[in-house]
Amino acid sequence: MLSMIAARLKTTIPSVIGVIIVTFLLTRVLPGDTAAYFAGPAASNEAIAEIRGKLGLDRPLPVQFVSYVTALVRGDLGTSLTTGQPVTADLAQRLPASAELTLFGLLISMAVALPLGVLAAVRQGSWIDHLCRIVATAGVSLPVFFTGLLLVYVFYFILGWAPAPLGRLDVFFSEPPRVTGFLLIDSLIAWDLEIFRAALSQLLLPALTLAIFSLAPITRMTRASMLAVLGADFVRTARASGLSGRKVIGTYAFRNAMLPVVTTLGMVFSFLLGANVLVEKVFAWPGVGSYAVEALLASDYAPIQGFVLTMAILYVALNLMIDILYGVIDPRVRLEG
């Protein structure tokens, strides 16, 4: 198991190096002039040149790259011009917000999609199968920002059930002492149930938005995978041996159907990290997605590089986790690894 992890880790090193080079080049090649942007209104060409010099953008690309990598080795991702803060600090501040939102969204989605997918497969052609199809179609065809705005409109604006979409906490609450950066967990650690409730109610709508978006792939994959397994020989044998339907589906079929579902979950998780960008905008969520978009609009290189690098590392870590999870679910994978 350990050697498998080590072998997998080794293969990720080239991809991380590749990401570093590509993001560096992309941010330089893409149009948009940081110096002109930050020289502000009424800037003369001399002022722009002066700022370019100060930012080190007038040096040749290889020199810029070397200084970038040297700083990177020291854990320095540079300074964001839009927030004026070190990128590492910004990302550390914002990553838990995005992670909490994405994971919570994924949890809601799984809680709905897995049972729905299994039921649809077991009762193929019944009303629940149709419901499954409708939910999946609706989920994929609604753009996330639209679902987000719709939920805000209905639950906040019309009904007044949800709190104001003002980020992670109502303005009159202060954050609990930071331990994990996840407000739900931190507030429990501080045993402040009022803040826990407040944070949960802020989290519900944006997480629901993400959940609706990710329902479709998980439901469809669960259904398809269950169908394939239900038609397999060992299920027929189990049935023939007189095992109860619950036991056949729950223990034999479901466990075997999980492999492709886990793969899908990994993919959906990375999609969600992307979809986050728009949801964060609508709900004023202080996460990494909105941070990256603002940096992109301002041609602010350092945060973009930092964001892409962080995402790449997250993605690599996620794939590794999925590989390990495979081994747990199906011991044969462990042997092959």
Partner: protein, 530 residues
């Protein structure tokens, strides 16, 4: 950051705004707290610093004092105050006296204290003004616009007396001391924490060291800024509000929902359509001020491409559907700039005599050799207004044989594009802080060819008139120069004014004391709630 913060705590003086716990203990009630929602917040706390974004003006305005400020006057349409740029009142200055030769001004400072408790001295004023003229970037450019160029101009007479020597007689010098750039830092505190940098750039970016009406209690870039009142403020009547929470909410529809539901007190920067809807709805107050010295204009490149020919520029001015553009893109939230009198008023922006007249336009195009194709660009960041405007321009020009292709330039790239000065047509909004016609034209049509001279317009005759207007002290002569140069640009039309936009702010009915400032950021010092 870690070192500077430790240094700050060691200094002990900055404790009032680092220790948030104390403020929390006597936490002001909701009725004394204002919740402001805006598109994005400050990226620094130092407006003089390079790369400071638009909202940083709000920090400079509320947390720092200047020598002078503009005098509030009622907005003609009601709803609060705007400022009269010609009339100044003392902020840190208790009184001031212009020398008999008109070449210097001496300020007497009032007994004000910095947030640190130190008294404000003339030495601090000099340090701050020296910094503004030497730091480079926008701060220095803005100072130079009022002939404030060299540290030698700023003289400490004694602890409470300060003098500014003028390089030349420039009517913009005094008003330029009241904008959000020449504000006064606690120089001792800044130097102590500077870590060797004589201008303390890094420390002042993250810390406020001022004497203003508000202090920054907490600042989370990109998330929120919380201000608390400085109860010892000496430069004006104590503000009514004790705490302001400014949240950054990127989505305009969310900002609108928040204000309509009554959860936010004030909302800045909504699309014009939302302001119109809120106004029509009648539940929310919308205060609109035509942006002084601001105008949406169509810039026609006078050096490169088809619009070198003045007849074609005039043809475009004769064919634009001015009223339709005002309604469809600004939803009426602006002032029409067409159909003005033969002799323009000595004002800017002022309506040009052009109005929609297709026949005239067709004749001019025919005289210039017939139709052609060209491109029109605008900043994608302004798309809510600029996109419908561009489509109407395209349609109108199509009717006189000019094919227009529209290019939407991403915000980050727009400055680069306009700096090239090669695009034939550009739609843009420009607003100068100092409300003088010569100031606006100096930036947009003068031969100094600043980045905002998008039309690449060069005319020594115009330069002479602008410069003469800038430095004359005779009011009658000034007005004549203005009328002359407005007439000249009206005839030459390197830029066609379309509409003077309105700066709108939406607020709850319970909010009073709205104050419009030329920097267009909220002024918390006058606001009241309930």
């Amino acid at each position: 950051m870690a070192i500077t913060r430790r240094a700050a705590i060691a200094g002990g003086l900055s404790a009032p705004f680092l220790m948030t716990g104390r403020a929390g203990a006597q936490s002001p009630s909701r009725s004394e707290t204002l919740l402001l929602v805006q598109e994005y917040g400050p990226n620094s706390l130092d407006m003089q610093g390079i790369g400071a974004s638009q909202p940083v003006n709000g920090v400079a305005l509320n947390c720092y004092d200047r020598l002078l400020r503009f005098k509030p006057v009622p907005i003609p349409a009601g709803g609060g105050n705007q400022v009269s740029m010609g009339e100044l009142e003392g902020e840190l200055a208790e009184s001031w006296q212009i020398a008999s030769d008109g070449m210097s001004c001496t300020f007497k400072l009032r007994d004000a204290k910095f947030h640190s408790g130190r008294p404000v001295t003339a030495k601090d004023v000099k340090w701050s003004l020296d910094r503004a003229v030497t730091i480079g970037g926008f701060a220095t450019t803005q100072m130079n616009a009022g002939s404030l160029e060299k540290p030698e101009q700023f003289v400490v007479v004694d602890d409470k007396t300060f003098r500014v020597d003028f390089l030349r007689k420039d009517k913009l010098t005094m008003p330029n001391l009241a904008v959000t750039i020449p504000f006064v830092f606690d120089s001792e505190l800044a130097i102590k924490n500077s870590g060797g940098d004589p201008l303390a750039k890094e420390w002042l970016k993250n810390n406020v060291a001022g004497s203003g009406a508000f202090k920054v209690e907490s600042w989370k870039p990109g998330v929120e800024t919380i201000y608390v009142r400085n109860d010892d403020w000496a430069s004006g009547p104590l503000p009514k509000l004790r705490r302001i929470i400014a949240r950054d909410i990127a989505s305009p529809s969310t900002r609108r929902a928040l204000i309509e539901r009554g959860d936010a007190d004030i909302s800045y920067g909504l699309p014009p359509k939302d302001f119109k809807d809120l106004l029509d709805g009648g539940k929310i107050n919308v205060v609109g001020v035509p942006i002084p010295n601001g105008v949406w204009g169509l810039y026609l490149n006078s050096q490169v491409g088809p619009f070198k020919d003045v007849r074609l520029r005039q043809a475009v001015a004769w064919v634009l559907p001015y009223d339709k553009m005002l309604q469809a893109s600004l939803f009426g939230r602006g002032v029409d700039m067409s159909g003005g009198p033969e002799t323009p008023k000595p004002a800017w922006p002022t309506p040009f005599a052009y109005k929609t007249n297709v026949e005239k336009a067709k004749a001019l195009v025919a005289a210039a050799g017939g139709g052609f194709s060209t491109t029109l660009q605008f900043d994608a960041g302004n798309a809510t207004v600029a996109e419908p405007m561009s489509v109407l321009i395209k349609e109108a020009l199509g009717s006189i044989g000019i094919e227009v292709e529209i290019t939407k330039v991403p915000g980050a790239n727009f400055r680069t594009e306009i700096a090239k000065k090669t695009n034939p047509m550009t739609l843009n909004r420009f607003a100068g802080w100092l409300d003088y016609p010569d100031y606006y034209l100096f930036w947009t049509m003068h031969g100094n060819n600043s980045i905002f001279n998008i039309a690449n317009y060069q005319n020594p005759e115009l330069d002479k008139l602008i410069d003469a207007a800038r430095f004359t002290t005779d009011k009658a002569a000034y007005e004549k120069f203005v009328v002359d140069f407005v007439k000249l640009v009206e005839r030459e039309v390197p830029m066609i004014p379309i509409a003077q936009p309105t700066h709108d702010v939406a607020m709850q009915k319970s909010i009073g004391g709205y104050q419009f400032q030329p920097c267009r950021e909220p002024d918390f010092r006058y606001l009241t709630k309930g």
